[in-house]
């Protein structure tokens, strides 16, 4: 059985804004990835590894679930 796709959303843009308009380049340097990767994550084109996800959350000083969330309705369907 093919598991249903989970849509992962994030609040990176909002968090960057709240952290003094932090640029993607600044965030990328803090996390240790390229600016293009931060852009891809922000636009939802790429889902990062847990390690990078935690590093992004740490860069903003927030918990992981404050940065990333998934579509709960699809998750409920799965159960």
């Amino acid at each position: 059985m093919v598991p249903p796709q989970i849509t992962i959303t994030n609040t990176i843009r909002k968090l960057r804004f709240e952290h003094g308009e932090m640029t993607q380049q600044d965030l990328a340097e803090r996390v240790g990835v390229t600016r293009q990767t931060i852009n891809a994550i922000e636009l939802g084109k790429y889902s990062p590894s847990l390690e990078v996800a935690f590093r992004i959350a740490a860069a903003f000083g927030v918990r992981l679930e404050e940065v990333f969330s998934h579509d709960s309705t699809q998750g409920a369907q799965q159960r």
Binding site: G32, T34, R35, Q36, T37, A40, Y46, V52
Partner: protein, 132 residues
């Protein structure tokens, strides 16, 4: 456009030129070993020169090691390139079987290597454009 995407573009375009040059070898009078050697040298020199230019334009990007997304793109593109190479080699073997000429098979095999390589870089470009 990232440094690595630019590198992929350079390799892809130069490989296309190399493929055209290689495929046209049959129509160039006296095209032999030296012709191929010249093509390969020109290819290598242009690669180095163009990569040095883009490295000079964005030294910080060039120094940054590949992150997980870029590694994933590299792996996915390499897989597509590998299957293209397998298909090309099988075609080359078929060419030997049909024509009975091992040199034409060798030529096709070399072409298959170049085309597979170009497909690998084309896939990289597509993945970079898509973001993953």
């Amino acid at each position: 456009m990232s440094f690595r995407e630019k590198c992929a573009w350079i390799s892809f375009v130069l490989l296309l030129l190399l493929i055209v040059g290689f495929a046209a070898a049959g129509h160039v009078e006296g095209a032999g070993f030296h012709y191929f050697l010249t093509l390969l040298l020109a290819f290598a020199l242009l690669q180095v020169l163009l990569r040095l230019i883009i490295r000079w334009q964005a030294p910080k990007d060039a120094r940054t090691p590949k992150d997980e997304r870029e590694q994933l793109i590299d792996l996915k593109a390499a897989r597509i390139g590998f299957y293209s190479l397998v298909a090309g080699v099988l075609l080359a073997m078929l060419a030997v079987h049909v024509h009975g000429n091992p040199w034409s098979g060798l030529h096709t095999m070399m072409l298959a290597v170049l085309v597979a390589w170009a497909i690998k870089f084309a896939s990289e470009i597509v993945y970079y454009r898509r973001g993953r």
